[in-house]
């Protein structure tokens, strides 16, 4: 806790402005004492027992007559707060501006000694050169052992301060020449320097410092010292200064008329108001308190900072350090400028020395409205992003809509103009939902005619049961492929359709998507082709049969008869010479051989055995003959096959046997073959197998191997099936199954050799 004790003598007046006398001093003192007592009582009541240390601050000027010293006091107070002690703070002021006369000063001295003889301070803080001198004068007799900390000293330590004093502190660094350098740098056209000041004791000291400091510039610049004028006269002079002039203000606590001023708050504003040139000052208090746009600043002393450092030294001393052990330091001046003045005098801030402090800088538009601008930009960005987002969304939506529309158009076009007949019907009630143009062409029903009707309503299926099963299968299986159905057109014409169906969902409803193509013409063509093929086979067989019959019935009979004639000739010609008999015998043999050859040709063209002896005998015979012919082994077996199978079935089986066995012998390289002919429940099955090289069935079939195709055609003619199983190096098996009951019952007999 810090207690300020202001004593009777030397306390500055409470009123601001020029002070001409010392009034109401007792009242103030009583009030302060009461306040102090209260504070002490509070401390005691709080029970905080701390060692009491007395600190006395002695100022050159009172806190009311000098804002600068007021700041010094404040800084000291702030600095002493770091002390662990209970500080009793006493504040005294020489009031040099108010009571500069010797009588007043002597009286103050007497009162001071009297007052503090009984209550010597533990530390004295002397703020100001005169205060330090004052303490130095008293030191020998009164405060021999009292440590002294000084601050706010102009220039050097006064000569009165001897080494026997236990003193340390902060020396003020008054550097008018530094300010002048900066001023010349900022205002390079400067030719005249006007130094302003007052006639007070305090003022003379400052003026002397400036004059000393400017000595090196006197040859370069025109210096004018306006320090002994009345304020009005000074103002008048300052209002009409030539251009290229700067003003350096020292201090003015009294003018030539004896009028007193508080320098920073009274004299300087009056000077500034009148001056038509930029004003440079000594300390920061002048700059800050001037409140004007004419006081520029300079290399400024900061007394408060010095005081704060000094207070720190006082605390160290109170803590037991000796003042002489604490080195004296110099204050840290700072380049400090008033922004408004820079603006007023056209000084660019960029030209200021590095590290300069600029006071009252009016924030630029950017600085002033940065937050708003940033907020605005942010909002704009957010809005822009939102708009962009919306635009993007809209564009995306439009694109999607466009894509969807195009897709729908494509689908619609595809659907409408598809070469396939497409229909969509509900699975719930079978009603048509949509049909396309090809459907209309296929069925002859227009779209509007089938809408809401079922396939059964328009009698579409030739076989309604098939249609019912079809829809059931689609529902169960989900899809149907390779369907063939006969449909009835609106005009009653029957067409064959081939297609597939898929179970789909349209707006949550299960529907059947059917795709059909009209294969009527194809079917007709296929049937015609099959018919042609059938007829070709028939014709071939017929022709072979005819030739075989001619050979057998005619040629062979003739040969037989000729043979008989020869025999007759031999029998009925008595005395036939041996030579003739021999020749006749030979002729007979040749005729018989010819007959056998013809018989063989006839047999190859058409096996009479097939019809006469049946398919088993014919096949067996063929196997034997071919085995003998090719020197191979053909194992034939049969089981339960009737002799009188329908001729076309027998012929088919026989021809397949011939073809497959001949192919096998020709291509397989095998030597062992097996032929099995057997009757199953309702089929006759022929199996021809070999253990040969085998072949790629698909390749051979795709190459339209005539033998295989011929077999297939023949088998299909009797509604049989043929299965060829073969793989390279895996042998081959040809399996033919034909219905045992004649499927072409009543059909004409293909072969009929008599």
């Amino acid at each position: 806790m810090l207690v300020l004790l202001t004593q009777l003598t030397g306390s500055p007046p409470a009123t601001a402005g020029p002070v001409r006398g010392c009034g109401n001093r007792n009242a103030r003192t009583i009030a302060l004492l009461l306040l102090t007592s209260c504070l002490l009582l509070q401390v005691m009541a709080a029970g905080q027992v701390k060692e009491i240390k007395r600190v006395l601050i002695l100022n050159d000027l009172g806190i009311t007559s000098s804002p600068g010293f007021a700041e010094v006091d404040q800084a000291v107070l702030a600095g002493l707060e770091k002390s662990p002690y209970h500080i009793e703070l006493y504040e005294e002021s020489l009031e040099l501006t108010l009571f500069p006369d010797e009588v007043s000063q002597r009286r103050f001295r007497q009162e001071f000694v009297q007052k503090y003889s009984e209550r010597k301070p533990d530390v004295v803080i002397a703020a100001g050169s005169d205060s330090l001198k004052f303490i130095a004068d008293l030191h020998e007799n009164f405060m021999r052992d009292t440590p002294v900390i000084f601050c706010a000293i102009l220039g050097e330590i006064p000569g009165e301060v001897g080494p026997e004093m236990h003193a340390t502190g902060v020396l003020g660094k008054i550097q008018p020449e530094e300010t002048l350098k900066v001023a010349l740098m900022l205002l390079p056209r400067t030719k005249h320097v006007v130094v302003t000041g007052g006639t007070g004791k305090f003022d003379y000291r400052w003026e002397a410092l400036a004059k000393e400091s400017f000595r090196n510039y006197e040859s370069k610049l025109d210096f004018t010292y306006l320090t002994d004028l009345t304020m009005p006269k000074l103002q008048e002079r300052l209002s009409s200064l030539p251009s290229d002039t700067i003003i350096y203000h020292t201090a003015m606590t009294r003018d030539a008329a004896g009028e007193r001023f508080i320098d920073s708050t009274q004299a300087l504003p009056l000077i500034a108001s009148a001056a038509n040139a930029p004003i440079f000052v000594i300390d920061d208090v002048d700059l800050r308190k001037a409140h004007g746009e004419k006081v520029v600043g300079g290399d400024l002393v900061n007394w408060a900072d010095d005081a704060y450092v000094a207070a720190g030294m006082a605390v160290r001393v109170l803590n037991g350090e000796r003042p002489q052990d604490i080195p004296i330091v110099r204050s840290n001046n700072e380049y400090m400028f008033e922004w408004r003045a820079l603006e007023r005098w056209g000084i660019r801030e960029a030209n200021l020395p590095p590290g300069s402090i600029v006071l009252n800088r009016q924030p630029g538009f950017w600085e002033q409205y940065k937050q708003y601008v940033l907020l605005g930009i942010f909002i704009l960005l957010v809005q822009a992003m939102a708009i962009l987002g919306l635009l993007w969304q809209r564009a995306r939506r439009r694109k999607i809509e466009g894509d969807l529309r195009r897709s729908e158009e494509k689908f619609s076009k595809s659907f409408r103009h598809s070469p396939l007949a497409i229909s969509i019907s509900s699975m719930k009630d079978g009603r048509f939902v949509e049909v396309n143009e090809t459907f209309e062409e296929l069925t002859g029903w227009r779209r509007d005619e089938v809408a809401g009707r079922t396939r059964f309503d328009i009698n579409l299926w030739v076989d309604p049961d098939w249609g019912t099963d079809f829809l059931k299968d689609v529902l169960v299986l989900g899809s149907m492929r390779d369907l063939e159905s006969k449909i009835r057109r609106k005009d009653g014409q029957i067409r064959t359709a081939f297609g597939s169906a898929e179970l789909i969902e349209v707006e949550g409803e299960k529907c059947c998507l059917s795709v059909w193509t009209d294969i009527t013409e194809r079917k007709q063509a296929e049937e015609a082709l099959a018919n042609v093929s059938h007829k070709l086979i028939e014709a071939q067989e017929k022709e072979r049969t005819r030739i075989a019959r001619e050979l057998h019935d005619d040629i062979n009979q003739r040969i037989a008869l000729a043979t008989l004639e020869i025999e007759q000739l031999k029998l009925n010609t008595p005395g036939l010479q041996n030579e003739f008999r021999t020749r006749l015998n030979a002729l007979g043999v040749r005729l018989q051989e010819t007959g056998m050859e013809v018989q063989a040709i006839s047999h190859r063209l058409h096996s009479s055995k097939l019809e006469i002896l049946g398919v088993v005998a014919a096949c067996k015979s063929f196997c034997r003959e071919i085995a003998e012919q090719h020197k191979i082994e053909v194992q034939f077996s049969s089981d339960g096959v009737p002799r009188n199978l329908p001729p076309d079935v027998s012929l088919t089986l026989f021809r397949v046997l011939q073809e497959s066995l001949q192919n096998a012998i020709k291509h397989s390289g095998a030597e062992h073959f097996g032929v099995q002919l057997r009757r199953t429940a309702d089929e006759v099955e022929l199996t021809v197998r070999d253990d040969g090289a085998g072949f790629d069935v698909d390749a051979v079939m795709s190459n339209q191997g005539l033998g295989l195709i011929s077999m297939r055609e023949r088998v299909s003619l009797v509604n049989g099936t043929i299965l060829i199983t073969s793989k390279p190096m895996g042998g081959t098996e040809v399996n033919v199954r034909v219905p045992a009951v004649a499927v072409n019952e009543g059909s004409k007999v293909i072969s009929g050799v008599a």
């Binding site: 057998h552 019935d553 005619d554 062979n556 009979q557 003739r558 037989a560 008869l561 043979t563 008989l564 025999e567 007759q568 029998l571 007979g588 005729l591 018989q592 007959g595 056998m596 018989q599 009479s608 055995k609 019809e611 006469i612 002896l613 005998a617 067996k620 015979s621 009929g752 050799v753 008599a754």
Partner: protein, 127 residues
């Protein structure tokens, strides 16, 4: 006891005439027909002792004819006269219960012995 009665079934007219000429002096040719179907009719109506038949004939071949004759219980004994010099035919022919199998080129030499053998219940096969 009169001459044996012979029915001839042969689709080749020239051959048929030759056979008739050969057999006529020895047997009673009860009928000469040109196909199996006619032969059945004649066999059933005329009940010959011997049926001389070709194998390859239109409508109904000789094997079928012989089977029908057998199945009908007709006592006529069958002698095949054919140009099929083939064991399969021979086998099938005798399976029908036939008594003779004569090759046409051996007609002059073998047919009458074959008929005679048949009349005596013996089998005959041309060589």
């Amino acid at each position: 006891m009169g001459r044996a009665r012979v029915l001839l079934a042969e689709d080749n007219r020239e051959m048929r005439e030759r056979v008739e000429k050969l057999l006529g002096p020895l047997y009673e040719i009860v009928d000469s027909v040109a196909n199996g179907q006619e032969a059945i009719h004649s066999v059933l109506n005329l009940t010959p002792d011997v049926l001389v038949t070709d194998i390859s004939m239109p409508v109904l071949n000789g094997i079928q004819l012989a089977s029908h004759v057998r199945d009908a219980g007709c006592p006529a004994r069958v002698v095949f006269l054919t140009i099929h010099d083939d064991d399969d035919y021979v086998e099938s022919a005798f399976e029908t219960g036939a008594f003779g199998y004569v090759l046409k080129p051996r007609l002059d030499y073998d047919l009458i012995p074959a008929i005679q053998a048949a009349l005596q219940g013996e089998k005959f096969l041309s060589h």
